[in-house]
Amino acid sequence: MKFESVSLQRVNLSKLRWVFPLGASLLLWMVASGISGGVSVNLLLDNLTVACFVALVAVGQMLVVAAGDGSFDLSIPYVMTLAAYVSGKTSGGVNTHLLVAIVVGLVVGMAAGAFNGALVVGPGLPPIVATLATGYIAYTIILLMGNGSQVIVAPGLISFGQHSWHGLTLVVLAAVIVLAGVALLRGQGRYGMYLHALGQSRPAAALANVPVKRVIVLTFVISGLLAAVAGILLSGFAGGAFADMGDTYLIASVAAIVVGGTSVRGGESAIGATVFGATTISLLAAVLELSRAAIGVQDIVQGTVIIAVVVLVMRGQR
């Protein structure tokens, strides 16, 4: 039997890939400064905090995408909100059991990820459909829990989310620590190797004794966990959890990967490039907002940028 379309590609990513999204971020910072009149470090730092939420979910999304076979995690926005809701409800809006509440929220995120993974490796649902189903079930729980209004979070979480040292927030610090942990997991152990092997060719990975199902489930669990971290931090930053707080993060997570230059066909991952992709996306949104363009025009520009960049990236890789 011949495996014609199955060929192993080079794992080796261009080490300098992160330079392009970093350059784009700096360029957009300059444009934003130009619009608002005067170069402002605070503008950059404000956006850095917002970019951290995007970066956290985008790295989770990137790992899922790297597993190949058209994998995407569409449950991210709902898992973010669900984790923030559950953790807010558990704490009851007071500081006494804040740590427990945060742990419960993180466990909910991982459970949602495990459910995604189980649907994919069990009945063999395409990841897109499995994660959509999980997402909508999560959304129902959100609606039933919140009665349509916001959920109050503990004051300790709010002061953590809003604490800033010369514009540099604790959110940035937390995101850096979490993402460093993910980078360690991907770079040091077997996990990263397995993940890339899986994304490049499932049959080849299976023949090479890669525990395919376990790696897929673990990847979805990590994505769920990162979504939960982002959701809980966001609820502290925003001063409460809202039913639609995660809505913009699905497209942002995909856009950050695309702008970061990682292939959306799977088989490779680049955490640094994706993080700078996230800052680029956040700054693009900031520039559009500063330009006072109509909300419809902002949507059109964002959609067009995503399609244009993905075409450019994919053309470069052929």
Partner: protein, 337 residues
């Protein structure tokens, strides 16, 4: 998505013997029986809960709102047929809804031109997917923002009106059975003929099922995908037009929830997510069943919040059942052998 990574096992077999053969007309499929059964159950429950619906008038009122979902699902079915997913279909239908409740009402030609533009936009998406090997999910996700943005620019807040002729078009009194049933049957029959009987329909199905066989038979995968996207765009146009005739107003956000339901409808309707298999009648039955399911839940005084969860659960249950049945079949076959 066959172009992403591994090809299905049957494709690998086919590439081993490259010969210009006729493409197979029929592929094994579970058929639309699951969807038919689900529809019967939901319809009976509806009739028992609300006996007044068992009349031409009552059925017409219940089935009318199902029309947009029927045609949106048929569009999603065509996209899935060639191995892709359309994550922007809800906003696409919403955009046509906006066009047909604003431009079409004042100027029929402008409205028609915008609807043709929508078909061309779908063709353009197909071209990007095929020529640059970009996963359709990224293109359709990006496009969904463009649909939303254009829709908000044309009609920032819900408004607009349906043209008088459009409003009456779906409220006519037709012999024996309610008019929506005729429209649904026409949609199912037309799709069935186009995809299962027409000679080019076989080519469309081959792209999602066995790309190598398609190319060996001398067909162009590029034109095939463009054709599929054009057909999907036309079905999206019909879905948007019917949305306007049912709701008589323009609201880009009203159709956003269609996206997930179309996936559930297509899989319950008996199609295969990996592409290649279509059962238009099953998809139509499943679309009506899902639409009635929402009514049943509201008749039972269940909060609307449960709708999305029930849809998600039906989807998971349908796929789980399929998985179990296939497992049993394999088990018994292995015992016979």
């Amino acid at each position: 998505m066959t172009m992403l990574g591994t090809p299905p096992a049957d494709l690998v077999d086919a590439t081993a013997v490259p010969r210009p053969t006729k493409l197979k007309r029929r592929l094994p499929s579970s058929g639309g029986w699951t969807a038919g059964a689900l529809l019967v159950v939901v319809a009976v429950v509806t009739g028992v809960l609300r006996p007044a619906t068992v009349s031409s008038m009552g059925a017409s009122l219940l089935l009318g709102p199902a029309l947009p979902l029927v045609f949106a699902s048929l569009a999603q079915m065509v996209i899935i047929l060639v191995g892709d997913f359309d994550l922007g279909i809800g906003y696409a239908v919403g955009l046509v809804n906006v066009f047909t409740a604003t431009a079409l009402t004042t100027d029929v030609w402008l409205g028609a031109a915008l609807m043709i533009a929508m078909v061309l936009a779908y063709v353009a998406m197909g071209a990007i997917v095929e020529l640059f090997h970009v996963p359709a999910i990224v293109v359709t996700l990006g496009a969904s923002f463009i649909w939303l943005g254009v829709g908000l620019t044309v009609q920032p807040t819900p408004g607009g009106t349906a043209a008088g002729w459009l409003e009456t078009a779906t409220n006519g009194t037709w012999p024996v059975i309610p008019e929506p049933v005729y429209i649904m049957a026409a949609g199912a029959l037309a799709s069935w003929w186009l995809l299962r009987r027409w000679r080019y329909g076989v080519v469309l199905r081959a792209l999602g099922n066995n790309r190598a066989a398609l190319e060996n038979s001398g067909w162009s995968p590029v034109w095939t995908r463009l054709g599929a996207y054009a057909l999907a765009g036309a079905l999206v146009d019909i879905a948007g037009l019917l949305t306007t005739s049912v709701t008589t107003s323009a609201d880009i956000n009203a159709s956003a929830t269609l996206t997930l339901i179309t996936f559930a409808v297509v899989v319950v309707g008996g199609c295969r997510f990996q592409g290649g298999i279509v059962v238009p009648a099953g998809v139509v039955c499943a679309a009506v069943a899902f639409s009635l399911l929402a009514s049943v839940l509201s008749f039972m005084n269940v909060t609307a919040a449960w709708n999305t969860a029930v849809e998600g659960l039906v989807l998971v249950a349908a796929v789980g059942a399929k998985w179990l049945i296939e497992g049993f079949r394999r088990y018994f076959r292995s015992r016979e052998a």
